[in-house]
């Protein structure tokens, strides 16, 4: 019994130490990214390439998911409003839930899956095929050359994708409202305009900015830490996606608290 407890204690202690070390290494990568930001931005072509990869190439996926997100929001609102709240308010409910929460979070989760995996796989393959060593050997800092363009592109493109996702989701909601819930376009738009607050839109975009950083840093961190061959790349990819998605949800809660309890409270 004592041996079993000691093994359990050792296991938990090792896991805790590993976890703390991992947080430290991620913090160092983030710090290194800020230190190399100035020089990294001089190669703006690399940032533009990543903006295409992270943003433009995610558009179709974001379009499909957002359209159905808005549609589902309308169906759910219609069901919950039945005999309780007049349907003339449905536009504002869809609008606010989309721009505050659904747009930024679902966009981040979709992009986190697609882009986080792709960054981790690309950098992981570069690690195991000595391409990152080759950069170091050529006196080209890998954080400046590989991480800075991805992080900058992600923090620019996530808010842009979120704006597009918001717009498409509102259209998805409108289609359901006018075709199945007997709500006119005029009622839907009037409801949205009545309860639209600019701070709601800003809160979603601020979240998207942070989500972009989280996704890019997780992909880069696990890509850089890849060991072994194909198996190592697979492990890195999985870890990057899982950690990005978990951190998006955790940070969503933290940012929402800061924004709505302090900054936008008045």
């Amino acid at each position: 019994m004592t041996e079993w407890l000691e093994d359990g204690y050792d296991y938990l202690r090792d896991k805790l130490i590993d976890g703390i070390a991992e947080v430290g290494r991620i913090a160092m990568l983030v710090g290194d990214t800020f230190r190399k930001l100035g020089r990294g931005l001089r190669s703006f072509g690399l940032v533009v390439d990543q903006m295409d990869h992270i943003g433009v190439q995610s558009l179709m996926l974001v379009f499909i998911v957002s359209l159905f997100t808005g549609a589902v929001a309308a169906v759910q609102a219609g069901y919950q409003f039945a005999n309780v709240v007049p349907l003339k308010f449905i536009g504002s409910v869809i609008l606010r839930s989309v721009i505050i929460e659904l747009g930024p979070v679902l966009t981040a989760l979709i992009v986190g899956g697609r882009v986080g995996a792709s960054i981790a796989a690309e950098l992981g393959t570069m690690r195991v095929t000595e391409q990152i060593d080759a950069l170091d050997a050529m006196a080209i800092n890998p954080v400046r050359y590989l991480v800075v363009p991805r992080v900058v592109a992600a923090v620019i493109m996530l808010p842009m994708l979120t704006i597009i996702a918001n717009f498409i989701a509102i259209i998805g909601g409108w289609i359901v409202c006018v075709t199945t819930l007997d709500v006119s376009t005029h009622t839907y738009v009037t409801s949205m305009k009545t309860f639209f607050f600019m701070k709601d839109l800003w809160s979603g975009l601020i979240k998207a900015f942070f989500f972009g950083g989280i996704i890019a840093w997780m992909g880069c961190y696990y890509g850089f830490r890849t060991e072994g061959g194909a198996e190592g790349v697979g492990i890195a990819t999985t870890r990057a996606v899982v950690s990005a998605c978990v951190l998006v949800l955790v940070s969503d809660y933290v940012i929402a608290n800061v924004l709505f309890r302090f900054i936008f409270a008045s």
């Binding site: 570069m126 000595e130 391409q131 060593d133 170091d136 050997a137 050529m138 006196a139 080209i140 800092n141």
Partner: protein, 247 residues
Amino acid sequence: MIKIRDLKIRLGKKQVLNGVDLDIPTGKTVVVMGRSGTGKSVLFKNIIGLMHPDSGSIEVDGQEVVGLREKDLNEVRKRFGVLFQSGALFDSMTVGENVGLPLREHTKLPDAEIAKRVADRLEWVGLKGVEAMKPASLSGGMRKRVGLARAIAMDPAYILYDEPTTGLDPIMSDVINRLIRSLQQRIGVTSIVVTHDMNSAYHVADEMALLNEGRVVFTGTPDEARTTSNPMVRQFIEGSSEGPIKP
């Protein structure tokens, strides 16, 4: 000249380098031989600062590189060209972009001058007109030669070769060996070749060093290696599983 003194590094529980002493004279090609897992690549990575030793000293042209800050280390690295075992070409770039990368990053040469330098270096390694090709469409030998063209793009004082002939057929191995020799004669570069290919070692070496259990156990010319009575060298040259070097 590179001077390595009492270099030690432990990776996990294994003492990989255990007091390496080695001199690389200017203008010479020194071949570091040894069984797989004896620390040849670790030594190579320590010289270029990709790994950091636990103790010991590495001097490049009189400058200590162990413990250098990144900025100063990068200045030392600019004097080196490195050919990695796999070539380590960037898949997302064309051959021309790969070879021109260090020039774009470290010089202010105009694009036309970079293109000319890239074409020259590719011609030196026998690959004229392949600038637009992607690394994925190249054979193993071509990848190594493109890697070599990239390594010499900045006219380095030193070139490090990590297993330059591994995975190549005998004819392509000979092509690489001749390139290593011709580069030394053409630009007077100092070279360190890490290999366990004895044919290649005899072909390119001015001096040879045998690494075993984390130490250099022999240094000498190729003729001295052929005639030495050192049992480790004899065993390694003869490729025998019986002798002082444990399989």
